[in-house]
């Protein structure tokens, strides 16, 4: 049997379970994700920086971890909480077990706890700080550390996860084609089969606040040639690259702690350049357009959030991961809320009525999650083309 682990919450609750992954202690905001698949993408999504992620689905690790389905260069969350870890890996693409993968990045995991009780607590009391230890800390020590952590509000994690240098995304087109399952005759390396792509003829700049690779893949699939720039790049430096449009990425932490970035976005907004934002990018854009953000009680994290497009009436099942939202009442009249969450009516999308600007709170790039919203990348292409 594995060694013991414990998860302590700032409200004094302690869960005892089994350790897996790294022998370490992690402190951060305990949140939960309701996706039944996609733990690998969740682990490697930089937006989870500073968070201890609980999976509501109980059987985790079944299909292992592979070298293709990564959303960034490493795993980012502070700790990982699950009900039951699969003792083996069963999938034709698996390269590692989940435990090996977490160990590689120094992330501690806890299994064998009542994740349903934990999630119910988080739903009632809201996401709260926690301390996950596989190093044998005492419960009292772990609770004290969780309490000392403070809050997600006011935290800037973007500076920690953004790339330090600007780079061109996948100039050789090695990683951007849509993943395909093999068909009919099986190729030599069936896992590498990817769909062909159009020429990369539209140059854009993508701000990296904790950018997921699948956004870059989707942009490439729509013919964008993307230059990724660090989060603190000035608007002037972005414009020097003469992009046809600007993309604002997802990312971790509190959007209200990023005032300097909001100012640069405001400058870009004023130039009239086409802008598309996702998640944190949407929240920053919301602020740049004059709105405010607020913290949700326990956030939206999962792959089944229904979003209604108020213009078309269509409903998209979306992938989401956010703990903050844009306050609809704070927005000026030229910014229209064009998408809402059908569960709690919060803002899911904004469109500027006169400028070529739109953004969504959810993740149209999925990974993990449903592909219903992929057409948004085509919408961005249309928008940029119209303004070119």
């Amino acid at each position: 049997m594995s060694s013991p682990a414990l998860l302590a919450l700032s409200d004094g609750t302690v869960y005892h379970g089994h350790a897996f992954g790294a022998r370490a202690t992690a402190i951060g905001e305990v949140c939960f994700n309701t996706s039944m698949t996609g733990y690998q993408e969740i682990l490697t999504d930089p937006s989870y920086k500073g968070q201890i992620v609980t999976m509501t689905y109980p059987q985790i690790g079944n299909y292992g971890v592979n070298s293709q389905d990564v959303e960034s260069w490493r795993a980012h969350c502070s700790g990982f909480v699950i009900r039951e870890l699969s003792p083996i890996v069963s999938n034709w693409r698996a390269d590692y077990s989940l435990a090996e993968y977490l160990l590689q990045y120094g992330i501690p995991g806890i299994s064998g706890i009542d994740t349903r009780a934990l999630v119910k607590r988080l739903r009632v009391r809201g996401a709260m700080p926690g301390c996950l230890t596989t190093e044998g800390l005492t419960p009292a020590d772990a609770i004290a550390r969780a309490q000392a952590w403070g809050s997600m509000e006011g935290r800037d994690y973007v500076t920690e996860v953004t790339h330090e240098e600007s780079f061109a995304w996948d100039p050789q087109d090695r990683d951007s084609g849509a993943f395909k399952l093999t068909k009919e005759t099986v190729a030599a390396s069936p896992r590498e089969i990817r769909q062909p792509m159009p020429p990369a003829d539209l140059p854009i700049v993508a701000y990296d606040f904790g950018l997921k690779y699948n956004i870059l893949r989707r942009l490439r699939q729509k013919g964008f040639r993307t230059q990724v720039v660090p989060a603190h790049t000035s608007a002037a430096d972005v414009l020097k690259l003469r992009p046809a449009g600007v993309f604002l990425s997802n990312g971790p932490g509190d959007p209200a702690a990023l005032g300097s970035i909001v100012r640069e976005i405001k400058t870009l907004v004023d130039t009239g350049i086409p802008i598309f934002g996702i998640c944190l990018g949407h929240q920053l854009l919301g602020q740049a357009l004059g709105g405010r953000t607020f913290k949700l009680k326990f956030g939206h994290r999962g792959g089944n959030q229904p979003v209604k497009d108020l213009d078309s009436g269509r409903v998209e099942i979306t992938s989401q991961n956010h703990g903050f939202a844009v306050d609809a009442a704070s927005l000026p009249s030229e910014v229209k809320v064009n998408r809402i969450n059908l569960n709690d009516q919060t803002v899911e999308g904004l469109r500027h009525t006169t400028k070529p600007i739109f953004c969504v709170q959810y993740h149209p790039e999925a990974a993990p999650g449903p592909h219903d919203s992929t057409p948004l990348f085509s919408d961005f292409r249309d928008l940029v083309t119209r303004h070119g």
Binding site: Q59, N91, L181
Partner: protein
């Protein structure tokens, strides 16, 4: 879009007598549909020859016909009800909802359509149009349709000579191969060839036996993983997956006879989403406008190649399971979608606050295990094949697969408390074997390699007899993830037994 106001009465065809493959699950869905439609103020007319159903209780329909489910009879009912509606001065139409009564209802509706009866009386089919039903039900049409939308189907080819047959076999490139002679009664003369010698023999025999000297040679998917998706669509083309299902038993066993598990356990998100996209592509291509469909896939465990097996353009056995597994009432919602509602206009029964346009996500595992009654049919061959033989099923929910699996075995009412270790002896043929006895390898090998009703228990017997996970996998092709769960249960049984000593 609100509900349709041009409809006055809805005719629902039930599933009729209980037979293997079509039992009370269709009563469950039909009853839900009747309630949903009456709630909306429609007049419900029901025909079902089986009075031992809930749906034929007087309160579920305005008019209940306990009459044979035949095209002739349904036509008479249509004539009578149209006259009745005229007498009532009804302004709306009489429509037919054929997708809730299993295959019987669907076939009856299709016969009425082909005979021109529906057209003659001006009866519209709601839920699924005749064209969509044909596309979904006719194997060859469906296969061609799948190829046109870029999905994969089993590789096959027809041959009229042994040379042609060899060419097809070469193109497919691996054994086993399935050989089906054309136009022989019940497919006599066909078979599965595991090597070249067998292939030559069966192919020759097939060509000889076929009156048109034609055989179909098809790649075999035996041993591949099998999956199901429960899809719903509304008339604004909103599509959602209600439930994904992974079969414990690999391809070769009828889904109704397979142990099935929800949700899918061994696909990554990338693979799952490709299957989800494919499910929507299928329901759109087949043209099921509103309601639920069940789509079956097979995946090669070696390389992930995904094949579309079939789709049911109607509420199916799996829909009843998916409804109970997720709390999403598929038949009820399907009935409301059929009369024009959109998914986001219908409330979710569980939360009561959020709309039905969502995909249930669960924090538990659901297992269904079929119940067999071979003791009542001593002449029947207990081997499980592509023809359904189970007479019922149990379903259980647990926080882990192991918990739901054990609860489900206990719920079968076959006297066992789970996988074993309950102290009760095992009846194997005429012999009684003690619960904790080690079974002979020869018997274990036989019972594992050929799917049968007791195979699940022989997984335990095999692990207890010292078989490795790999041994059991090679004999059964049951996914290693399921096998390790069983092995862990067996290990725990041993731990408990050791405590007793």
């Amino acid at each position: 879009m609100p509900k349709r106001t041009d409809i006055h009465s809805v005719l629902i065809i039930g599933a009729g007598p209980i037979i293997i493959g079509q039992a009370c699950e269709f009563d469950y869905s039909g009853t839900q549909a009747c309630k949903a439609l009456r709630e909306e103020g429609y007049r419900v007319i029901l025909v079902n020859s089986n009075p031992a159903t809930i749906m034929t209780d007087p309160e579920f329909a305005e008019r209940t016909y306990i009459e044979p489910i035949t095209p002739e009879c349904v036509e008479k009912i249509i004539v009578r009800e149209k006259a009745e509606m005229a007498r009532m001065g009804a302004t709306g139409k009489l429509v037919l909802l054929p997708t809730l009564g299993g295959q019987t209802a669907l076939n009856t509706a299709m016969t009425l359509h082909r005979q021109g009866v529906l057209e003659k009386h001006g009866i519209e089919m709601i839920g699924a149009k005749a064209e969509a039903i044909t596309k979904g039900e006719d194997r060859e049409t469906f296969k061609q349709l799948m190829l046109t939308i870029g999905l994969d189907v089993p590789i096959s080819g027809t041959a009229h000579t042994i040379q042609e047959a060899r060419q097809v076999a070469e193109r497919i490139g691996r054994y086993p191969l399935i050989i089906r002679p054309g136009f022989t009664l019940g497919g006599t003369g066909g078979g599965i060839a595991y090597n070249r010698e067998e292939f030559e023999e069966i192919a020759k025999r097939g060509i000889d036996l076929s009156p048109v000297s034609e055989i179909l040679v098809e790649e075999s998917l035996l041993g591949w993983k099998e999956y199901e998706m429960e899809v719903m669509r509304d008339r604004a083309d909103n599509c959602v997956i209600i439930c994904s299902i992974e079969n414990f038993d690999p391809m070769g066993v009828h889904t109704g006879d397979s142990i099935t598990v929800a949700p899918i356990q061994t696909l990554t998100d990338k693979e799952y989403q490709i299957m989800r996209d494919a499910s929507f592509a299928v329901i759109r291509a087949v043209g099921v406008e509103t309601g639920g469909s069940n789509i079956q896939f097979s995946v090669n465990p070696e390389n992930g190649r995904m094949i579309v097996i079939e789709m049911n353009p109607r509420v199916s056995r799996s829909s009843a399971l998916a409804s109970k597994a997720t709390g999403f009432p598929i038949a009820k919602i399907a009935a409301k979608l059929a009369v024009g509602y959109l998914l986001d206009e219908i409330r979710n029964d569980i939360t009561r606050e959020t709309p039905a346009s969502f995909e249930p996500t669960i924090d538990y595992v659901v297992t269904k295990i079929p119940r067999f009654a071979f003791e009542k049919f001593p002449q029947a061959d207990p081997t499980l094949t592509t023809q359904m033989k189970s007479v019922g099923e149990a379903m259980a929910i647990g926080r882990t697969f192991k918990e739901s699996f054990q609860k489900c075995l206990r719920s079968l009412e076959i006297g066992r408390s789970g996988l074993g270790g309950d102290g009760k002896p095992w009846r194997i043929g005429a012999e009684m074997i003690d619960d904790r006895a080690i079974f002979p390898r020869e018997l274990i090998n036989r019972r594992l390699s050929v799917p049968n009703a007791e195979r699940v228990f022989f997984l335990r017997h095999a692990f207890r007899a010292g078989y490795s996970l790999e041994d059991v996998f090679q004999l059964t092709k049951i996914d290693r993830w399921f096998l390790i769960q069983i092995e862990e249960l067996v290990k725990f049984e041993e731990e408990l037994a050791a405590l007793k000593n």
